[in-house]
Every structure is written in structure tokens, then in C-alpha cells.
């Protein structure tokens, strides 16, 4: 009459009881599988653009902003309607018929030309804290896209004007060279003619740049600098013009003034050539970001959530079995048999433990086999590590179930505990929300639940192919959690059955 006989008797009984319910086994395997498949088929990683009504300024027809940037609007928003009735649009928003109302400014281009920002106002109606940022994100993207287009257009125009100015400055420099030669020859008439010609060209360049106006982004600084240096050149040439007009003046002074102006203009021309040599795309966004996915592969929804589903199912089945088992026996009166029989409470609990661990692992294996063979979910890591993870997860989960069972005074309460544990998995295990999004005390709850370890370890072994050493501390903590829960249930069990 060894301990093995006692433990085996309970284990075999429990396994038989479970296997006598094929519908339960089938539900436990097919249920999560079907949910995963439907979720995978029916989910889209990219959130849909918000549904929006665009409110146009009253009585103006389709504004130029929409005409010019229709593609950007339609890519960023699912526009359900255009209207000039803001009150109507707001009512639609209140009734949640649309996600956002986009109110276009009255004369955006004129406002921008006047040196002010034109504002697109967006109203949105969202109570989901996770999706509350979605509308602003889409609208910011839209504004960014339009701004970029505007910048690109401006940069092109500015570069065109500056190129023309640079061409003119090239001619000015040639004319100034001729003026210098005339001064050297003391041919004052010719010198005056050349200086006047240079002045005309400088004035034209200044006018070309002046047309760009005060909104001259994105090359505003450069344009301003060119404008200022042209004015200086203008002033200098006017001085020279006066000097050559009176031949009594010192020819050296005129020559020096012309040489200085020539250097300035040459410098300005070179600077402008440099500005205009840069493509407008680089001018408006000089820093580019290049991202590269270096993951072993790019999992789809089914593949990504498969390990988490296995972890969730394993904990839930184990906790439910554990939570219900003891309380059901207590309520059914079966404990009366155990009290009379020589079997010890420890053997009884260990027998149940083994059975439930075995059963949940069996369910997990079948589910995994279907996932790996049927749905093509990969297993990059070691199969042994996968088995170890499942065993540890099952041991800890059954321990949690037994602990809950000892707290429950009725079957209904045990079911409630089991449901609470399921809710805990959804919110705290990293299944729905990444663990990084959690703070204390939520994080402590996370690490009290075996499924949290399961999600991480199973994703590691299946999808990332990482070695066990990578998560050594996590594995140790899971073992510790399992031992703690087992000891707790044994202790409570002994205390309560005295």
C-alpha cells in the first residue's frame, strides 16, 4: 500500500471523469481554435480612418483646399458627407453617426499668404480610452501631409525665383567686370553705362525675391538674407554710379567700390546656387527615417496570438478544474468517504494535481498540434523548452485553481473566481495590453498569474526561437510561483480539513 497507489487512484479517477466528458474536451480544443481563426480572419491591424463629415465654409461651394488636397483628405478620413451646415454635422457627431467633424477654414490660402496659420478644426466623439487618440492621430497626419505639400510647392517656387535671381546676378557680375575695366581705362561714360545696367539687373533680382512675400517658408532665412544683400549691392552700386558720374572723383575709390560689390554679388550668387541645388524634398524634410523589420518573420494575427491563446486556455482550464474540483467534492459530500478512508489529504491533493496538470497539458498539446500542423504557426525554438513551459504553466495554474477552490464556499463562488481569473488574464497577462503599458499595482497582479509568464515564454519559444537562458529569471519566477501556490493550497487544505 504505497503512496503511489493512493495518488494514482485519485489521478486515474480524475482523468476518467474528465475523459468521460468528450464534449468538454472538444469544446476546450475547438472553442479557442475557432475563436482564434475568426479573430484572425476578421481583424485588421491597421485601424480604419475615422468616419467624418467635412464642413465647408457656407456658400462657397467646394473650397480650393479640398480641390487641391482631395486625395490627402480621402486617405486620412472616411468622408461620409460634405456639408456647409455645421449644426447638422455636430448633431450627427453627437448621435455617434460619425467619428469626427472636420471644419475647414474660410480662406486658408489667403490666411497663409498673410503670414498666419490657417486652422482646420476637428471635433470628435470617442469614449474608448484606447481609441481616443485615433482621430487626432489621423487628422494630424492629414495636416502634416497638406503642410508637406504646401512646403514642397513653396520650396519649388522659391527655388525657381532664387534660380532666376542667381542668373541675373551672374549677368550683374559680368556687367560690373566691364564697369571695372572702364574705370581702369578712365572711360567714365562707359563706366556709368555699365553701372546703370548692373543696377537694373540687381533691382530685377530684388523684385523677383520680393514677390515671395513674408511667408517665404521653408527657405525664409535664405530668402531674407538674399534680399538684404541685394539691397546692400543696390546701395553700393548707386554710390559707384555717382562716383563715375563725376570724373573728378578718385577713380580708385570707384574701382574699390565696384570690386567690393562684385565680391558680394558673386558670394550671394554662389549661395543662391547652393540653396537651389538642394531638391525641394530635402529642403522640406532634411532628416529621413528608415525603418527595417528584423524579426525572424512577420506573423499575422493568428500566428501572433496563438501562443497567448494557448497560455490563456491552459491557465483557464487548469484554474477552473482546480477551483471546481475541491469545492464540488466538499459540497457533494464525497469528503465523508475520504475522512473515513486511510488516504491522506496530501495524497488526495497530489492525485488531483497530477490529473489536472496532465489533462491541461494534453489539451494544450492537441491545440498546439492543430496550430502547428493545421494553421502553420511556427515553432522556432526547442520543442523541449515548449514542453517545459507548458508543464510549469500547468503546475502553477492548477495551484492557483486549488488556492481559489479553498477560498470558495460554493460551486457558484468557485465559478466566479475562475471567471475573475480569466478577466485577470485578459487585462493583466499581456494578452490584450502589453505589459509595458501597465504600472503598479497592476504589474504585481500580472506576475501573480501564470498566464503572464506563459504568454512571454511561449511567444519566445515559438515565434522568436529564443533560448531558455534568455528568460532564466522568468522561468525561475514561474517555478517559484507554482511552488508557492502548491504549498499554499496544501497548507490551506490541511488546515481546513482538520
Amino acid at each position: 500500500m504505497s503512496a503511489v497507489n493512493y495518488i494514482l487512484a485519485v489521478t486515474i479517477k480524475e482523468m476518467r471523469e474528465l475523459l468521460h466528458r468528450p464534449a468538454l474536451v472538444l469544446t476546450l480544443i475547438l472553442g479557442p481554435l475557432l475563436i482564434l481563426i475568426v479573430f484572425g480572419i476578421g481583424s485588421d491591424a491597421n485601424p480604419k480612418p475615422p468616419r467624418a463629415i467635412v464642413v465647408m465654409p457656407e456658400g462657397q461651394g467646394q473650397p480650393r483646399l479640398l480641390q487641391n488636397y482631395q486625395r490627402q483628405f480621402e486617405e486620412s478620413l472616411t468622408i461620409t458627407e460634405y456639408t456647409d451646415n455645421e449644426a447638422y454635422a455636430r448633431a450627427q457627431l453627437r448621435s455617434n453617426s460619425v467619428d469626427a467633424v472636420v471644419i475647414l477654414p474660410l480662406s486658408p490660402f489667403e490666411t497663409i499668404a498673410g503670414g498666419e496659420r490657417a486652422t482646420i478644426r476637428v471635433l470628435y466623439n470617442e469614449i474608448d480610452p484606447l481609441w481616443r487618440g485615433l482621430v487626432p492621430r489621423f487628422v494630424q497626419a492629414l495636416a502634416g501631409e497638406i503642410n508637406r505639400e504646401l512646403f514642397l510647392q513653396n520650396a519649388g517656387e522659391q527655388q525657381g525665383a532664387l534660380t532666376s535671381a542667381a542668373d541675373d546676378l551672374g549677368a550683374v557680375v559680368a556687367v560690373v567686370d566691364q564697369a571695372v575695366e572702364a574705370v581702369e581705362r578712365e572711360d567714365w561714360r562707359a563706366a556709368q553705362r555699365e553701372v546703370q545696367a548692373a543696377l537694373v539687373l540687381v533691382n530685377r533680382s530684388a523684385e523677383l525675391i520680393a514677390v515671395l512675400g513674408p511667408q517665404a517658408e521653408p527657405l525664409g532665412a535664405q530668402v531674407e538674407r538674399a534680399r538684404s544683400r541685394l539691397l546692400q549691392a543696390q546701395a553700393a552700386l548707386e554710390v559707384v554710379e555717382q562716383a563715375v558720374a563725376t570724373p573728378t572723383s578718385e577713380s580708385v575709390e570707384s574701382q574699390l567700390g565696384l570690386m567690393q560689390t562684385r565680391r558680394n554679388l558673386e558670394g550671394l550668387r554662389n549661395a543662391i546656387i547652393t540653396y537651389t541645388a538642394v531638391p525641394p524634398e530635402v529642403v522640406i524634410a532634411p532628416l529621413a527615417v528608415e525603418t527595417q523589420l528584423v524579426a525572424r518573420f512577420e506573423p499575422d494575427f493568428i500566428t501572433f496570438f496563438a501562443p497567448a491563446i494557448v497560455a490563456l486556455l491552459l491557465q483557464h482550464v487548469a484554474v477552473s478544474l482546480g477551483a471546481l474540483a475541491l469545492v464540488r467534492e466538499r459540497l457533494a459530500g464525497t469528503f465523508d468517504l475520504y475522512v473515513v478512508a486511510p488516504i491522506s489529504n496530501v495524497y488526495l491533493l497530489l492525485g488531483k494535481y497530477l490529473a489536472y496538470v496532465g489533462f491541461t497539458i494534453m489539451i494544450a498539446f492537441i491545440l498546439l498540434a492543430v496550430l502547428l500542423a493545421g494553421l502553420g504557426v511556427p515553432l522556432f525554438g526547442s520543442p523541449w523548452r515548449l514542453v517545459l513551459t507548458l508543464v510549469l504553466l500547468a503546475l502553477a495554474s492548477v495551484g492557483l485553481g486549488f488556492t481559489l477552490s479553498l477560498l470558495a464556499t460554493s460551486e457558484r463562488q468557485a465559478v466566479q473566481f475562475s471567471m475573475l481569473s480569466l478577466l485577470g488574464i485578459v487585462f493583466f497577462s499581456g494578452f490584450a495590453l502589453p505589459l509595458d503599458a501597465l504600472r503598479q499595482p497592476a504589474l504585481s497582479i500580472s506576475y501573480m498569474m501564470p498566464a503572464t509568464y506563459g504568454v512571454v515564454l511561449l511567444q519566445d519559444v515559438m515565434l522568436r526561437g529564443l533560448p531558455g537562458s534568455n528568460r532564466f529569471l522568468l522561468i525561475l519566477t514561474l517555478i517559484g510561483t507554482g511552488l508557492f501556490l502548491l504549498s499554499l493550497s496544501l497548507l490551506s487544505w490541511r488546515t481546513r480539513s482538520r
Binding site: N5, A9, V10, K13, H20, G333, D336, V340, P342, I343
Partner: protein, 335 residues
Amino acid sequence: MAATHEQAAPMIDAHGLHKRFGSTLVLADLSLQVQAGEIFGLIGPSGSGKTTTIHLFCGHLRPSGGAVTVLGEEPSAFSAAARRQIGYLPQQFILYPDLTVEQNVAFAAGLYGLSEWQCRDRIRMSLELVELWPARKRTARALSGGMQRRLALAAALVHDPLLLFADEPTANLDPILRAKLWTHFRSLCDAGRTLLVTTQYIDEAEYCDRVGLMFDGSLIAEGQPDQLRRQAFEGDLVDIVLSEPRAAQHLDLLTTTEHVGETFLIRPDAMRVAVERADLAIPQLISALSTSGETVRSVSQYRPTFDEVFIRLIEQHSGRRPPLGRLQTSATSEG
């Protein structure tokens, strides 16, 4: 039979047992001894404390007062060796409905450390005993109430216990199966086993070596069935039938006769008379009636049923008749 065991140490020895649930006293001053190799029947109406007594003997409950030893040990601290000698058949069916009959019995064996593969013969014997071997592959859920009782009995006997506590083992069984079970209990007893059996079926007292009658948490009488009969009526009962319907006129006359106790009118021409000893009293009764001018048509000793015995004992104990319906006299179906 009980007399042969009187010298041995009792299997169950209870003195002044009390049990309270909160402020409610459910068992008061219970003292009894059950000797090895006897069938002790605890009989009484529902709520009389029979099941509580069994729970105290099995160690499910601790007494609020008094002392009890079973197999020489205190039930709340049974050793594993003592537990292996005890079989327990609970009142309710508490085995596993999803397991087959055979698997349930195998599990019960496992609770006593017997490996299923090592005790196949015992499992079969237990099931054959209760006539469930042909149904061994059926799940317990698919059994009738009576079959479930038989299954529970097989599970209680599979480890061949020395002492069996059977809480209403015959409840919901048909009369034929009840008789078979009692026959088996007798064979267990003959093989040296001891049984403490509770029942609401008063007529089953006949199957017991000794009987304890429980009422309202007290053991109001205890002894061999015939002793209880005599205790109830302070002797034997004699039925006298007269040739004329004038029995009522002679009741008082007979009570004055020597060795005669109470008298009862059972028909206009017949009466029942309690006497110390029937063989000595009958000639005196005939003589007394003849002297008063009556012709006695017949005289016979009456063997009262246990219904009558127990109703009488309860009346004596409490000064009132037990409530109707609390005592059952027979089972009619297997459920």
C-alpha cells in the same frame, strides 16, 4: 449470538455522547456498545440522530461531550490501520456519476491503498454481491436510485472491512433486494465482520442481533429484538377470542388477575392481554373468564410487530405517540 461476543472488547464503545450544532442538542447522552461479529441496528424515525451517531463513530464529527472509541481508537484521530478496517456507506449517493460502476468501485478500493489491477477479483466479488456485475460498464448516472445504493454498498465493501457503518443501506430498495442485502449482511457477520446499520424500516430490526431505538436524539431502548418486544409490553401478549361480543365487559376483570398487565380491546369479541409469561398466564385467564360465565373460543400468544413494539416504546419514553409518518414500516419500490 450476541452472547458469544460479550466477553470480547467492544468494536464500538460509546459513553454519554452528546452532540450540539450551535445551541441545538441533536444527540443526548448516547451510550452503547457494539460487539465484534454482531449486526447492530440503529432504528428510529428520520431526525432521531442515527446519521449523527454514525458521523461521530466515523470521525466526520467530533462529539460535544462524552467519549467514544471505535476499534479501540478515538474516531477523530483514527490511525491509518484503523481506517483500513472501516467501511462506510453514506446515506446519500456520493460516488461519481460520470464514472462507470466498475470505475467507481475501483476508486473506492484505491482510497484504501488497493491498486485497481491488484484487486480485480475483489471488485468483481463486490459487484456480484450487489448484482451489479452485468451493469459494470454503465455510468453511475445511468443507474436507478436503487442500483446506486447497491453501487455505494459495493464500494463500501470492496476493501473487505472488519467494521461496516451502513447508513440506511436499504433505503429505496425493493423488498426482495432488501432481503438479499440483509442475507449478505448476515453472511458478513458470520464471517466475523461487525455491522452498524441504520434504518427507518422498523421491520428490519428482525435482521439485527441487537437493536437500538433512537428517538429525538436519544437511545430510548436497546437490546435483542425479542427482549425489546418484552420490554415494550412488560412481557408477552395473549389474544383471547370470546364466543359472544362481550370482551369489553371483561377487561377490568382480567387486570386484577395475577401476572396480567395491561389489557386492550381489539374487537367486540376479542381482547389482547399483556402478561409476564404467556405459558403461565393462559390457564389462569381461561379459568377467570369461565368463572365469570364466558365461553372462550380461542386463546393464542400474539407476537407484536416491531411497529407496535417501537410505537409502544416511544410512548413509554415520551408519554406520547410518535408523529405519523416518521416511522416507516416497509419499502415499496427501488426508486
